[in-house]
């Protein structure tokens, strides 16, 4: 967090050398050799072929790249894979259990909470993070805390309805647990 010393410099530094990065992605430990300039998002999409995580802006302005790192939702475009070395990453592909959909996935289908589907994995991962955070109980709180996920198709009312339903399903499940 220091001031950047040189904002301009003559640049033809060679591309950075790959370094080993180990990530536990959807429960599977993966060691990759990545140049440090590879973001977590590009590591997932280009190196692990997990293209469910989407690139909508690459600048933290849309939320399409949202994944869970150690259970918390983040924008995977604004962190380097190397910075997440050793951590657990959950992507949309990791939310299903075998053939069974996550309650959020089911609710999104049921409520037609998407149209083109491009923002959807990010919405669902973000909603999973939201539920885990436990800070939203009203529709307005869901709206505010889901505002980091743009949906250009404008499926917001259905997204809120789907999250509300999934939240209830998750709560019921938790209460029913021994």
């Amino acid at each position: 967090m220091a001031q950047l010393k040189a904002s301009l410099r003559p640049a033809t530094a060679p591309p950075p050398e790959p370094i080993p990065v180990t990530l536990t992605v959807n429960g599977v430990e993966r060691t990759l050799h990545l140049a440090p300039w590879t973001t977590l998002l590009d590591a997932l999409r280009l190196h692990l072929d997990l293209t469910g995580t989407k690139k909508g802006c690459d600048h933290g302005q849309c939320g399409a790249c949202t994944v869970l790192v150690d259970g918390r939702r983040i924008n995977s475009c604004l962190t380097l894979a190397a910075m997440q070395d050793g951590r657990k990453v959950t992507t949309i592909e990791g939310l299903t259990t075998g053939d069974a959909l996550h309650p959020l996935q089911e609710a999104f289908i049921e409520h037609d909470a998407f149209q083109c589907g491009y923002c959807t994995p990010g919405q669902i991962c973000s909603a999973a993070g939201l539920i885990a955070e436990g800070k939203a109980s009203t529709d307005d709180e869901i709206r505010e805390l889901m505002s980091g996920n743009l949906c250009r198709c404008g499926a917001y009312p259905n997204i809120v309805a789907a999250i509300r339903q999934a939240m209830a399903a998750v709560a019921t499940k938790a209460e029913g647990a021994p």
Binding site: M1, D58, I74, G148
Partner: protein
């Protein structure tokens, strides 16, 4: 993004030592730095990852205040119970900024070093004295709806984009820094600079300096404070104008007052004279308006942002009114 090397610091001293080499930047949350690197606005040659240093705690201080670790995440800070009850304006300010995902990533120290959102700063095909000293200011005479009305210069009319910092300014936080020359404390009002003729320099930090913590004084204005943010959409947008307001009330009379504005200047804007104009006076809209006018007395608009002057006045009156009305520490 240009080529760089990456290393992880294993202690604050290690980080400071590594930062000696020119072209080195610390990275913690990465939310602003990586954005700027991708946009080719900044190009460090070496990144030193400080995100795993043990600087993420939030602790009580001996003086009755709170020490916010530089690496504590924005979200963890906003939702910390002590912050929520003792410094609700800070909690509210943090939650008014960015998105839930970004707040989970961004650190408190990094937020202090957030760069401006000026269009010209971000677009490398256009002139910008902050990005490229001497190239000119595109925003002056250009598209400047989001730009400064206070404290600007003929070199730069950019604004500081942070919400958190506006509350920290109002709370008179102190920034704790360690650097090649040891440790020092920087009062918040002195931390950010005005652009003057060196708009490329945002803060008083020196090369190699590492922010370790932000200290909040005991006085948190918990009973009478608010953070009001006005923006072009309901969420996930930078402030056109924001107000951090804290009052100490004695019945209907203001005993102490803090007022800071965001979205209007190169730094969170405070003016002791405006606060003095409130103290000892009744908490009425007219008094609040008077203080707002003191604070805005030197405000100067440009082609597209003159509305901010009146908006700021109205926002100050609203924020102070809300703060005065507020009882107890509400849920942010």
């Amino acid at each position: 993004m240009r080529s760089f090397t990456y290393a992880r610091a294993d202690s604050a001293a290690d980080a400071v030592g590594r930062a000696g080499a020119s072209g080195t930047a610390f990275v913690a949350g990465g939310t602003n730095l990586l954005d700027l690197m991708k946009a080719d606005v900044v190009h460090p040659e070496r990144l030193v990852d400080i995100s795993r240093l043990p600087l993420d705690r939030i602790e009580d201080t001996a003086e009755g205040g709170l020490r916010l670790g530089a690496l504590a995440r924005n979200a963890d800070t906003a939702y910390d119970e002590r912050v929520q009850t003792r410094y609700p304006m800070l909690s509210k300010a943090i939650l008014a900024g960015a998105s839930a995902q970004l707040r989970n990533m961004a650190t408190n120290g990094g937020n202090l070093l957030q760069r401006t959102r000026c269009y010209y700063f971000y677009d490398t095909a256009t002139p910008c004295n902050k990005r490229e000293p001497g190239s000119g200011c595109g925003a002056i005479g250009g598209v400047n709806r989001i730009h400064a009305i206070l404290g600007a210069s003929d070199q730069c009319i950019a604004v500081h984009p942070s919400d958190l910092c506006v509350a920290l300014a109002a709370l008179e936080a102190v920034v704790q820094v360690t650097g090649p020359e040891g440790e020092r404390s920087i009062p918040f009002a002195e931390f950010h600079r005005l652009p003057g003729d060196r708009p490329e320099i945002d803060t008083v930090l020196r090369p190699g300096d590492l922010i370790t913590a932000i200290d909040l004084p005991a006085k948190g204005f918990a009973e009478h404070s608010t953070y009001l943010k006005i923006r072009d959409r309901a969420s996930y947008a930078f402030a056109l104008v924001s107000v951090a307001a804290g009052l100490e009330m004695d019945g209907g009379t203001v005993r102490d007052a803090r007022l800071a504005l965001g979205g209007v200047a190169h730094k969170p804007w405070r003016d002791p004279e405006a606060e003095a104009a409130l103290i000892g006076k009744p908490a009425t809209p007219d008094q609040f308006r008077g203080a707002a006018r003191v604070l805005l007395r030197d405000a100067k608009g440009h082609e597209h942002n003159s509305f901010k002057i009146e908006l700021a006045e109205r926002a100050i009156v609203r924020a102070l009114t809300e703060a005065a009305e507020r009882k107890g520490a509400p849920r942010p």
